[in-house]
Each structure stands twice: as C-alpha cells, then as structure tokens.
Symmetry: C2
Subunit: 496 residues, 2 copies
C-alpha cells in the first residue's frame, strides 16, 4: 500500500493554516475506496442522467428519451408491482386501513401478522438485528418447500437487499496479511458488487473465467487453475457463484453444481451462492439451489461444506428493488463465527422493516385457498412469461447481426453479447476501453444506456456489453433494432 | 495484528479433509470484526429476549413483562406514528388509494410528488445512489430554513439511517499504517456505533472525556490533551461530536460549538456532527447546528472547515426507526473525494426508498395552510412535551436516591446517571464489569433492560447505566421506582 505525500503533510502541519489544503484529499483518503469500481452506475450512467436533464430542458438530441437498459430495475422499466404485496404494505404503513372493506382478507391477515411481530405493532420500530422472527420462520419454510430439506430460522439473517448480506459475509472471511491474505474466487464476467467489495475490504480478487463458448459454463479445470495459481500469492478461502448468472444469464445444471460443491470441499473453500434470480429461469432450464444439491449429496457434504446462500426482493417477478429486502441462509457456519455475525449485524441495528415485510410476502405469497391467489398468480405468470419471451427475442435478434454473438439468455434478466470491434477502434480514445467508447457513442447517438463488458471483466481482447431485457416488448424491439443498426454503422466507420 | 495458528493450518491443509475443521473459524476470521462491540444490543438484550420467551411460555418470574429501556425505539415503547407520515407512506405503497376520499389532499399531493420522482413512478424502483433528487432538494430547504444559510442539494446524500452515512464518511477517512494510521476522536461516553465502526475499519479510537461534573460539557483543554497524546502513536484527523448527546443527554451551547470549530480548524480535524436528536431539546436549551455556527463564524471558517452533519428519521418526534431513513450533508469536501463518495455509495445501489420518502415528510411536513397541519402539530407537540416531562421526572426521581447522581436530561432521549457501587461488588463475578453485573441483576429481578455504562465508556472507577426516557409516563414512574428500590437493595447487599 503506497503512502502518498499527503500523509506526511497532514501529520506534520499540526497547527498550520487549513487554507493550505483540505484535511481529507484524494491523496490521503482510504486507498481501498479509490480502488473500488462499480460500472453499473459508472460514467455512462452519470452521462445518461445529464442527457435526461438536457432533454427535460428542451435540448435537441437524436432521441426523445434515454432508455436505461443498464440496471436490473424492473419497475423503473414499467413493470407493475404485485397488487397483493402493495396492499399489505399499505396496510402495514397505515393500519387504520385494516378497517377498510376495499382490502381482501388475506392481505389484512398478512398485515396483522407482520404488525403483531413488530415492536409496538409498528413497522416504525427497530426489529431484532437478525430480522423479525416470524419472517425468518417464513423464509425457512419457503426454503424447505423449495428444496425438500430442513432449514433452521436461526440460520436466516434478513438484510438490506442481497448486497448488504454479501458484503457482511465477505467481511467475516477477510483476514491475514501479504501472501496469507484471503483470496476470493469470483467469476469473470462478474457482478461488480464483488470486485468493489473485495477492493474495499482489501481482499485478493481471484478470477475464474466462465466458458463463453459453451454458454458461459463453469468448468472445474478452470476453477482448479485459478485456485492453484492464487495459492502462490494469497490464501484462497472463498468461492462465489452467481446462479442464474449476472451478467451472463446462464443457468447451472445440477451436475455442474455438484462438481462445484465437490471442488469446494476438496479445496477447503467457503461457498457463497448468489441466487437472487432463482425465479428468473426461462426455456427448459431449471433452477437448482446450492443448498438443495448440497443436501442431496449426503451428509459427507451436507454436514461439512460451509455455504451462504443469498436472495432478494429486487429481482424475480416482483422487482421490488427500492425496498432493499433480502436474506442470507448460512449452512455449517462455525457457532463462534455465527455469534460474531449476529454481533456484527447488530451494529447497524436492523434491516429496513418495510423491506423485511415485503420479503415475508415473497416467501409466503397468497395460497390457492385465499382470495388474492388468482390475481397474484396471473400477475406473476405474466411477468415471467414476458421475460421469457424477451429473453428469446433478444438472443434471436442480436444473433442476426454480423459481429454480435449472443448466448441464450437461460435465466436472470440480462444479455451479455460479444461484440467484434474493428482493430482501429481498440486505441481510439486516450485511455478509454474500446467497449466503453462504443457504449458512450451508443448513448450519445441513440439514447440507449448499456454497461460496457469491461465493467464486469472479460477475456483480454474480447468485448461485450450488458443489456437488461426489461424494457416492454415493443420498446425492446426498438432498442434491439437501434443497437443492431448502430453496431453496423460503428463497425463500418472504423473499418474504413 | 497477531496471527493466530488457524491461519497457517488453513493455508497448508490444501487438500485435507474438511472434517478436520471449518474453513472459517473464530481463529482465522476477520480480526477487526472480533474487536467490534455493540452493547446496546449486547448480552443483556439477548438475555432480555430469552426472558420474554420464557414468560410467553408461562415461566414464573418476579415480573410480568420485560421493559426495554435499552434502546431509543420510541414506537416499540408505544409512541404512535405521525398520522400524516403514514398516510403518505400508504399512498406511495399502493397508489390506487390516491382515488380514495379518506385521505387528505396534502397527503395525496406529497405522495404524487414523491412517486413522480421515482423510476416508473414506483417506490419499488432503485433511486439514484445519492438519493431521489427532489428529496435532496427538500432536505436542503429544510437545512436553509433551520440555519439561515444556503445548502446545496449536491452536498446531500440520503442514507440507510444515520448509521450508514456515519460509517461511509468514516470509511473515506481511514488510511495509513502504524503511527500514521487515522485516529478518530470520539467522546467518552460515546454511542457505540463509533467504537464498533472504528474497530471494524481498523482505525485508532482516540478518547476525549466529557465533563460529568459540569453536565457532560465538552471542554477544549480535554480535546487538546486527547489530540496531543494521540499524535504520539497515530494521525488524528477526525473529531466526532454527538449533539444533543447520546448517551449523556447534554445540549451544547453556541459558544462551545464555536470553540470546537476553532479547535478543529487549528488542529486540522475533519468534523463529524451527529445531530440526529436535533428536535429532542428540553427545558430552556436550544439546538444549534454545527453548520449554522460554522457559517456564523465567517468565511475564514465556513469556506475551510470540513464538516459532515448527520440526521435521521429514527429519533426526534417521529421515531421511525424501522424505515432506516437518514442523510448526511457534507461541507467543504474536496471535489475529488466527493466523487469517490458518490462512487462508493453507488455500490450498494441506493438507500431504501420508503425511508427516503419518509425523510422527505420529516423535512417537508404539513404547512400552516394545509389540511393536515393542525393534526400534525398537535401530534408533534404532544410527543415532545411528553418527552420533556419525562426527562424532568427521570432526573428528579433518580437524584432522590442515595448513590445515584443524574445530570439534567437537556436533550436526546436518555439518562446516564452515575451509580456508586460498593467496593465489594467491584470484583464479584469473574471478569464481569460491575455495572454489567448490576444491570444483569436488575434484569433478572425486575425485568428492566438497561445498558451498562461500560458499553459506552466511562472514567475508570465510575459506573453508570443508560436508560431511555421513552416508556409512557405511568410506566416510566414504575420503572424509576423499581430501579431506585433495586439500587438501595443491591447497595445494601454488598455493603454487609
């Protein structure tokens, strides 16, 4: 960790005039924070916000609106919230409505149950730090129903979105100095929360590459290579998996998950399974949770392999990102470490209670004998069917464009196509990655906001972008057409 | 940082059998996390939860309920939410209610405005990472009205409660190694979020003691002593102030704040002002924000001293802890550092949108010409008047008890009386702090849950506890009586 001159200055100029400089500067601030990168909300998004402001103020652009296909934010793209969920949230917010005939009985029953579990029967009270107990019980029942194996509510921690829980578990795992520093294996391409958090914690990022040629598969020999090389310079202890994949949209087979679990056991790696897209599975693919597969493998594995599995209210069919609800289930965590985890989450008091309440509805939705069931199922099915259709459409259209190659979107809500960029453009702008330049041009010319592949990591010499499949179908068709035309135009410009 | 044997084991047993031990153990986990302590939710609270469970299951105890006076959680203690706030939250959650005649027009107008500022007009969408723009503008207007000085919405960052923003700003400031490591001055007694965060970040905690004999005043010579001694072993760069004080309940005079600002400028310290109790000011005391005093001191100070000021939806008259709303205003932050701050908060995507919405109502409540104004004012005034009455009551009753000495509760929602404990009890239980033993006995015998002074820090040889003044008046009287009787009994037991 290099020390910049700023440190010495601020240490010695004890009684100096502060006009000579700030106490806190780029030179003397936390160097780990400087290393953090988060492309999903990076310079392209800042520019998109500017463009939106300019359009609002009447500026003339080649487009009338900026389409934000950079972030998995379903409701911002026009997806309607699930009626039942929002009814219960209104009831919890303003319990006077419990007397209102307009609300169905099952919504009222859920609200009453949640309120009863809150301090002072109010979602304005803090909850227990680990989360409201009856909600943790509901999460456990949901997991048991999903997997067919027991789940202990004591192993559930409610969180501020999945991100919060992921950061907390990583924080427990980071220790050691120098070549003994914790190494964390993450997929490339990855969701940049991981690289950002590892930079922030000063952990060692260990890359394993997904195999783009076989639909972003996770291959054990590549994991082996990564962990073996990492052992030369750090202490790899953690293996992070995102399934269904973000940004890559693959869904892992049960066989693949088994192999990963076996590998983790052999190599003594703590498994972190980011499964926030567990309902976003299209075509004939099926989601298998790591927990389920682990327990199917028998007690040799299920009683030893340490696993943390994450879920969220932000994705799937509900897309309730703003509520920041989520949970982690920990399996085989050392009891002493678990006590430390409980202590650590208590410092931030508790996850937002509205988000906890919403999570309760996700894991305990209307049942077939309840009045809201039919509407709930219809809304849920419509969203997921639309996403499946858009996943197919995206792949089909992109694969008709020369120079764009797109794997099937088996799950999640993104496509991560490879784009062939002309050699000339590889060095066009000073210091700018070619895919960043490409995306910035696309934004300026068509008003479409994507994230360059370099923000997620990609094999050297290959270029990609991430696009969400969330815009409404008719708008998505226009977006796909515009990107396709832009790609042809851009390629031509640099090939001349 | 001592390395434990665990490190080496996990590094060398590469292909070993995992049954020989966990990947993650107390020995090899993040040592900073182990150093974290957070007494407000510590062993006493865990025992209180157990006792509640036992009571529920029919166990016989010397009490019928556990009274949680350990945490500033107003609604859990029976305080009712502000009607207007919850009406708007219900409307935002389920916008179909905007057609309902039951809701007043100003509540609907607020909800429409908030929804319009949300992606897809939904609080289920992510917001901008810094927070919803129109809410940041409202926060600025609130600050301008409070202080009489300009506030720039670009300097406002919305957060997940104040805790989140405090941790984020501290994180920016922590750098350097060894004797160059960032030192952070915090008051003793302190709110343990600070010590916990400093442990987590591996920063150096630098204690300055509040003067209990003059109503927990903040004296400059003591600050000078603390910073001078700290310079021998670290790089003190930050001065944290809690005003009104937690756990100590003092309200600082304008003169004191001026002196602190002058001191910070001379000593080149970044100021962090935790002002979450800004409406909780009783008797003839007046709250002065650090921002206002800084700007009253003229441009020599207002254009140089770096300040971060924090506020929250959790305290004051609203007590909406569960929503986790808050903000920080940064003043004179280096533009490069500010860009890093914006980047850093983007990794967690955004603060919970319901909490942002609630914060908007706090900073922009019903105005005199609006239909909800009268009710709002009545609710607000009642809460604050009750708190003022309970603050007085608490001081008066405790000061009648021999061996309890209690400063006036000028502000916030806690009392932190000094308790004289007999010499015999100083070494009664193996390794347990005497005040921890005292509080644990009180819990077991009377069902009252307090936090021992050792959880906040106190001068060696003195003992305290923190108690909230939040129980309803009649219950508070019983609590005060029970504690008084217990104190006499306990003292007698150990004096014999």
């Amino acid at each position: 960790m290099p020390l910049s001159p700023g440190y010495n200055m601020s240490q010695h100029v004890v009684n100096g005039d502060s006009s000579c400089g700030k106490v806190l500067t780029l030179d003397n601030m936390n160097p780990n924070v400087k290393r953090v990168e988060y492309a999903v909300r990076g310079p392209i998004v800042l520019r998109a916000m500017q463009l939106e402001k300019e359009l609002k103020e009447g500026a003339k652009k080649p487009f009338n609106e900026v389409i934000r296909a950079n972030i998995g934010d379903a409701q911002a793209m026009g997806q309607k919230p699930i009626t039942f969920f929002r009814q219960v949230m209104a009831l919890c917010s303003y319990p006077e409505l419990l007397e209102d005939d307009k609300f169905p009985d099952d919504a009222k029953q859920r609200a009453r149950r949640i309120l009863k579990a809150c301090g002072g029967s109010s979602i304005g009270a803090y909850s227990a730090s680990q989360g409201i107990e009856c909600i943790r019980q509901d999460v456990s029942r949901y997991i048991e129903k999903r997997d067919g194996f027991a789940s202990n509510p004591d192993n559930i921690y409610l969180s501020t979105g999945a991100s919060d829980a992921i950061v907390t578990i990583l924080k427990l795992l980071v220790a050691g100095e120098g070549s003994n520093r914790t190494g964390v294996l993450i997929s490339i391409p990855q969701y940049p929360l991981y690289s950002a958090t590892l930079a922030d914690l000063g952990a060692v990022q260990v890359n394993y590459y997904l195999n783009e040629d076989s639909c972003w598969s996770l291959d054990i020999p590549e994991l082996k290579r990564a962990v073996t090389e990492a052992r030369q310079h750090c202490n790899p202890r953690v293996l992070c998996i995102i399934n269904p994949g973000n940004p890559t949209g693959q869904v892992q087979s049960k066989e693949c998950i088994k192999n990963v679990i076996r590998f983790a056991k052999e190599e003594r790696l703590f498994l972190m399974a980011d499964e926030v897209y567990q309902d976003n599975v299209y075509r004939d693919n099926e989601f298998h949770s790591f927990k389920k597969v682990l327990f199917e493998m028998g007690s040799e594995f299920s009683s030893t392999v340490e696993l943390a599995s994450f879920h969220s209210t932000s994705k799937c069919y509900m897309g309730e990102c703003g509520f920041r609800g989520g949970y982690v289930e920990v399996i085989n965590l050392d009891p002493g470490v678990k006590a430390q985890l409980t202590k650590l989450v208590s410092v931030r008091l508790c996850a937002p209670v509205p988000g906890q309440a919403l999570l309760d509805l996700v894991v305990n939705p209307p049942q077939p004998d309840e009045p809201s069931h039919a509407t709930f199922m219809k809304e849920r099915t419509t969203v997921l069917a639309n996403l499946a259709e858009k996943a197919k459409l995206t792949e089909e259209i992109f694969n008709t464009v020369p120079g764009i190659k797109c794997n099937p979107v088996q799950g999640a809500m993104y496509t991560f196509p490879q784009i062939k960029l002309p050699q000339k453009c590889h060095s066009t702008e000073a210091g700018q990655e070619p895919d960043m330049y490409y995306c910035m041009r696309l934004l300026e010319e068509e008003g479409i906001c994507l994230v360059p592949g370099s923000g997620f990591g990609q094999r050297k010499g290959t270029f990609h972008f991430r696009m969400t499949i969330l815009p409404p179908t008719e708008k998505l068709k226009i977006v796909l057409k515009k990107i396709s035309d832009f790609h042809v135009r851009f390629t031509k410009e640099f090939s001349e």
